[in-house]
Every structure is written in C-alpha cells, then in structure tokens.
C-alpha cells in the first residue's frame, strides 16, 4: 500500500498520475465542448458553471465548516448588483468590477458570520434565511439599484476582447470556474481547511488546540460569500438583465439542495450536484418527450391533475429523484462514487 511520507505529499494538488491524467482529459473535454455541441447546450453549460461556483463556496461553509446558509441568494444578488453598479456608475472594467463586487460580498459574508458565532443549526438557518430575504427587499426599494425595474447589463469587454456570444462567455467562465475550484481544493487541503474541518467536527476541541474559532468561522462565511459574489456577477451577464425578484428563497434552497445532493464535504460532490440539479432544472420539462414514459406521465397528469398538471409533473419527478438519491446514499452523488470505487478496487470480493 502506498503511504504518505511527508506533509507535502498530503497537500499536493494531484495525488497520483492517474488523477492528473483524468484532470487533463476533463480540461480538454471542456475546451472542445462548444465546438461539438449546439449553442443552446453551451448556455446550459454556462448556467451549470455558475451554479458550480456558488456550490463550491457553499460547500466550504456547509460541508467543511459545518455551518448552514439559507441566504446564499442574497450574496448572489449582491455580487450581481455590485458588478453591474461598479461597471455602470463607476465605469470600472469588468475584470476589476467582478472581483471588487465579490470582495464587497465577502464583507457581507463576514458580517453574517458574526451572528453565526453564537447560533447553530436551525437558529443559524433562520438568521441566514432572514438575510437572504432582506437583501432583495432592500435592493428593490432603493432607486439607485433600479428598484423593481432592475438593471441591464452593459456590453462585456475584457481589454479589447468583446464577449458577445455564449461560446466566448463559456471560455471565460471555464477559466474562472476551474481556478476557483482549484483554489477551493487548495483551501481545504491546507491550514485554513483543516481549521474549518476541526470546527465542524468539534468547535470546542478546535478552540482548545488553538484554532481561532472567531476568525475561521467568519472567514468561512466570507470565502463562501466571495464565491457566491463572483457567480452572481457572472450570472448578471448570462441573463443580461437582473431584478430583485430573481433572487428568491427558492434559489437559496436550490443551492443548498445542490450541495447536499452532491454530497456535503466533497469537492467532486459539489461539482456533480450543481451540474445534475441545474441540468434537471432546465431539462426536466422535456421528460414528456421521452418515449413511453412521457406519454404515460401525460396520461396520469390528464386524469388526476388540474390543467397545469403536465408542468407540475416535472417538479414531482425532480423531488422524487432528490429523495431517491438521499435515501439510497445519504452522502449524495459523492457517496455513490465512493461505493463504485470501492467495489471496483476490491473486485471480485
């Protein structure tokens, strides 16, 4: 059996050549994707990538630090509004406005981290929920943010490169998403990540061995908010238009669901969970086009449901899939993966 012999082996990014190989294959695949699929799927990929960024950040908070947030749509909104406001009002270029807005979001994350020092579990959930709901109310009431009429995104340029199409935006998004994913992995593997995990597992014990709980809990919120802020700023350019009502409670819940379905406390879980749920969110309405199943669902809906039944069916299927995953494997998609890997490694036993 291969043993780790020193610290650097433990923190290195790629644990083996196989992992590196698959990582590079994935990168090539992502690079070639827009050349082989229809433009629509590039848009879907963009939508997924944005959710991946949010869930990566949320996973640092929920999965690694053991805190909870039902207010991530609020951070998402701050990122989106912040980026557009900095670009429109202060005429900052996109590459400055996006990280700056994300830093502002991180500031809000820090503030929300303060009550989290004294609150746990359901109480923290309610506090963050309140934050998420309040943010959209505040934004909606301030004329400077366009009120309920919302804001239009300006043209997106980086230097002299004008990003007009989904494909151009896709490449930008991929660079950002992959960098943030690597950054998240780096955080988890090093001192900060170990502090997060120590707090999650037993915060009193962590404090005893010298982890600064105040610093790391608020830091977890700030980092998580930073990710949501970046994602929000990018989302404003996917839609090219934002208004407060977009950032609903449902959105926060979806982020959390992506995190949990993927598997809390795992990078890969965060990524797969975000991809699967965003895919289902956009594509499940096509379930009625499937052979046999589609016709069957439609007949059920026509017999037992009201006139809008057909479209409600997709949400029922959505719910069923989530329940199934969680019942079969409480660790989510990541748990399934672990099982497959174990089975494979120990085969035929």
């Amino acid at each position: 059996m291969k043993m780790k012999r020193n610290y650097y082996e433990d923190v290195q990014m790629f644990t083996s050549g196989v992992v590196l190989f698959w990582f590079l294959t994935l990168l090539t695949g992502l690079f070639l994707l827009p050349l082989v699929v229809k433009n629509y799927y590039v848009y879907v990929a963009n939508y997924m990538a944005i959710n991946v960024i949010v869930v990566l950040g949320l996973n640092l908070l929920v999965g690694y630090t053991g805190q909870i947030s039902l207010g991530h749509a609020g951070f998402f909104a701050i990122g989106a509004y912040g980026t557009l406001m900095l670009m429109v009002k202060l005429h900052l270029p996109f590459i400055v406005a996006l990280p700056l807005a994300a830093l502002i979001t991180a500031g809000f994350g820090f503030l929300l981290g303060l009550p989290a020092l004294r609150l746990e579990g359901p109480y923290l959930a309610i506090a963050t929920l309140g934050f998420g709901l309040t943010i959209t109310q505040v934004i909606g009431r301030l004329e400077i943010f366009g009120g309920r009429e919302g804001l239009h995104a300006p043209d997106l340029t980086i230097g002299s490169w004008r990003l007009d199409t989904d494909i151009e935006f896709y490449y930008l998004l991929m660079v950002i998403t992959i960098s943030l994913a690597l950054a998240a992995r780096n955080i988890v593997k090093t001192r900060v990540g170990r502090a997060f995990i120590a707090i999650r597992d037993a915060d009193i014990a962590a404090q005893t061995i010298g982890v600064n709980v105040v610093l790391y809990k608020t830091l977890a919120f700030a980092v998580s908010a930073f990710y949501a802020g970046i994602a929000g700023g990018l989302y404003a350019f996917v839609l090219r238009f934002i208004e407060p009502e977009i950032f609903t409670l449902m959105m926060s819940i979806m982020f959390l669901a992506m995190c949990v379905v993927g598997g809390v406390g795992s990078m890969m879980g965060a990524i797969t969970g975000a991809c699967l749920l965003s895919w289902m969110d956009l594509q499940l309405r096509n379930i009625l086009n499937l052979p046999y199943i589609g016709a069957w669902l439609e007949s059920i809906s026509k017999t037992y449901f009201s006139i809008t039944g057909v479209s409600n069916i997709q949400f029922i299927v959505f719910g069923l899939i989530m329940i199934l995953i969680m019942t079969l494997e409480p660790l989510g998609l990541f748990g399934l993966w672990i099982r497959v890997k174990k089975y494979w490694k120990t085969w035929p036993f």
């Binding site: 848009y43 109310q137 009429e149 919302g150 238009f241 208004e243 009201s306 006139i307 809008t308 479209s311």
Partner: protein
C-alpha cells in the same frame, strides 16, 4: 488511393455546404408548417397567468382545424418557465436553436421578457404581443417587437377622465405598487388630473411584500378621498378594499385591467369587489360580439382542458396574437420574417376582440410606431361577478 480520399472529402464538403444552404431557408417555416413559440408560467408564483399561453394554444388549434394559414398548419411550442428568467432564456434558446421558431407569441411577464429581448432582437426574430403592459417594450422601439397590450398609463387616464367628468369626483387618491407597473399608472393619473385642474389628495406606494393595509387605509380615510385608484397587484387591491370595508371607509374604488377579471376578483374578495370600476382591454366573456362567440365555441369549447375557465387571461392569449395571425394571412404563401414585419406595419385600426391595433413603419425615435393598442373601456363589477359596460372603447 489518395486521390480517392481527396475526392471523398470534396464530395462530403459539397454535401455539407449544400445542406447548409438549404437550412438557410426561412427558419421555422416549411411547406406545411409554421413554428410559433411561447413561454408562460404554469407553475410558481405567477401560475395564474399561465392561461394566456393555453388560450393561444386553443386558438391555434382552432386555426389548424379550419385548414391553417394559407395551407400551413401552426405548430405551437409552449413551455413552462415558472416565471424564472433564467429558464425563459434557456427555453427560448433551446427551441430557437433546436427546433427553429419562426416567431414568438405573447410571453407572460416583464422580467422573463427582458431576459430574452436582446437575444430575439439581435437575431431579428419577430415577437408579437408580450403579455405585460411595460414601457420597456417600446423604449427604445425595436423593429421586430410588436406590443399589443395597452399601456397602464392610458388606462389610468381613462379612469380618471371618467371619474372626474362623469361621476364628478374631485378628491382622488391613488395607491400604487412601487415599481414600473404602479408608477406608469401614477403618471397617467397625475397627468390627466392636471388637465382638469386637479391634484391627487394622497399618493401611497405599496411594496410587493406588504401585508397589512391598515395604515394605508387610515391615511386614505384621513385624506377624505371620494375616489381611490388602486394600481396594485390583485391581492393588495382586494386587501385594501376589504380593510376599507372593515374600517367603514367607502369611496368609489377604481382599478386596472390586471384586476378586471371580475369572476376571479369576486371569488378572492368574497363579494367585496362589487361596484368597483376597472379599465379593461378585451371584450367581456359573455359579450354579444360575433368574434368572441366564435372563439368561445370553436376554440374554447372544442379544445380547452376540462377545468379551464373562459376568463380574461385565457382569451387574452387569443387577443395578443390576433394581429400576428392576421398579418401571416395577408402574407399569403410567401411567408418570411421580413414580409411578416411589413404586413404588421400595414395594420391600421385592425379590430379583433381587443382594442383597435395600428402599427407604423419602423421609426427608432417614435415609440408609437410599435405600440399597437391605445384604446380601453371601463366596466363595473356587478353582484354576480358579471360586468356592466360603462363606456364604449375610448381613444386616449
């Protein structure tokens, strides 16, 4: 051997180019089909408006049953966006780039519409009759976007004119939702009052999430208003009328077309909506109008699902696309997007079941070249949820 593969490549590329060229024929049109798309919330917060999209569907089925448009059948692609702009954009892209849509019809909601407005404009895809009375559609006017819904601004003017001239009201208050929708109403009301030498006695904003209306009604009562104009959502309008009744404040209430589906309003308000005057943009459900009767019989009775109601939103789905269907008919067999736009621009006082519709040749500086309807008429709610027509179609 080598020359053979070169030849093969050549043949293949010629085939590809040829295939590409034929695909360039008008998108969404074949010899037998016209592909029309629409989004509409069937789930989520705005699901009540979903009947617009279903109404359009029944209307297209009726047209197909009668042989289609110049020999072509309409293939209708409707999808549920749950009033979520990200989903609207995804669905529009998927249908546009997958199936190929000739033109888009209606589409409920300002914010879902704004998420796709640039996409459709850039690709020069016609979009007719967005189902929301927003000024966004005509500021600036866009060549391929044809709004039909009358502006809330005009409705407010019509209501105030009636209140002042016919009912002799002088102390007029307005409660408006604090967004574009409410402010359009507010602006129309103010401007009309000024022409009569009057001012509002009180103007009160309501936020979407406000639930308690007591303080609002208190202020209204204190102002001594004898007419209150409600430019809010359905639920707020009902709450204000209810709270006023409980506080024994009984002015004449007036409201917008959004609240003019009387059977629905009477149901929600448990009968309190009686006597309220509303502006509206479509004939009444039981109107003695030959077109309405025909639609009721041949579209609704024949094709609607069993729980469907013949209400304003449902036939609004017909009303918003009537100009589109008329223009497509006038195009004849040679249907292209350019011709559709040209024929729409030629519509003058076109009369369906809604206001008269006129468009003009495109002028980027003239919003009225694209705002189709400017007429409205007023109705009053009766005890049984029926409507009494107070005025004929008014030109504002």
């Amino acid at each position: 051997m080598k020359s053979k593969s070169v030849l093969g490549c050549l043949v293949l590329s010629v085939c590809l180019m040829f295939g590409f060229n034929t695909a360039l024929a008008e998108e969404g049109i074949t010899d037998t089909e016209i592909h029309i798309g629409q989004w509409g919330p069937q789930t989520g917060p705005a699901a009540a408006w979903g009947s617009v999209a279903r109404g359009t569907g029944a209307y297209f089925q009726m047209i197909n049953a009668k042989g289609g448009i110049n020999g072509r059948k309409i293939v209708y692609h409707m999808f549920d966006d749950a009033y979520n702009p990200a989903k609207t954009k995804a669905g529009v892209k998927e249908l546009q780039e997958g199936t190929g849509i000739f033109a888009w019809a209606c589409g409920v909601g300002t914010s879902p519409g704004l998420a796709v407005i640039d996409y459709l404009t850039e690709r020069e895809i016609p979009w007719i009759g967005p189902a929301a009375g927003s000024l966004h559609w005509i500021t600036p006017p866009r060549k391929h976007l044809f709004p039909v819904y009358p502006l809330y601004y005009n409705e407010a003017k019509a209501l105030i004119r009636y209140a002042v001239k016919e009912m002799g009201k002088t102390k007029i208050a307005i409660v408006y939702q604090n967004d574009e929708y409410g402010k359009n109403g507010l602006r129309g009301a103010r401007e009309e009052l000024v022409t009569h030498g009057l001012n509002t006695v009180v103007e009160m904003p309501v936020e979407l999430k406000d639930t308690d209306m007591k303080s609002h009604v208190m202020q209204l009562r204190k102002s001594g208003a004898d007419m209150v104009l409600l430019w809010t959502s359905v639920s707020h309008a009902v709450r204000i009328v209810g709270t006023s009744r409980a506080m024994q404040f009984t002015p004449q209430f007036m409201s917008t077309s959004t609240c003019s589906d009387f059977p629905l309003m009477m149901h929600i308000s448990k009968g309190l909506w009686e006597g309220v005057i509303c502006a509206t943009f479509g004939e009444l459900p039981d109107a003695d109008d030959p077109l309405m009767k025909m639609y009721k019989k041949e579209a609704f009775d024949a094709f609607a699902a069993k729980d469907e109601r013949w209400g304003l939103f449902y036939y609004a789905g017909i009303l918003f696309v009537e100009p589109m269907v008329e223009a497509m008919k006038r195009c004849g067999k040679d249907l292209t997007r350019d011709r559709l736009v040209a024929e729409l621009e030629k519509l003058r006082d076109f009369k369906g079941i809604g206001p008269k519709i006129s468009f003009k040749p495109f002028d980027p500086n003239d919003p009225s070249s694209r705002q189709g309807g400017s007429q409205t008429f007023l109705i009053q709610c009766l005890k049984d949820g029926k409507a009494k027509k107070l005025t004929d179609w008014m030109d504002i």
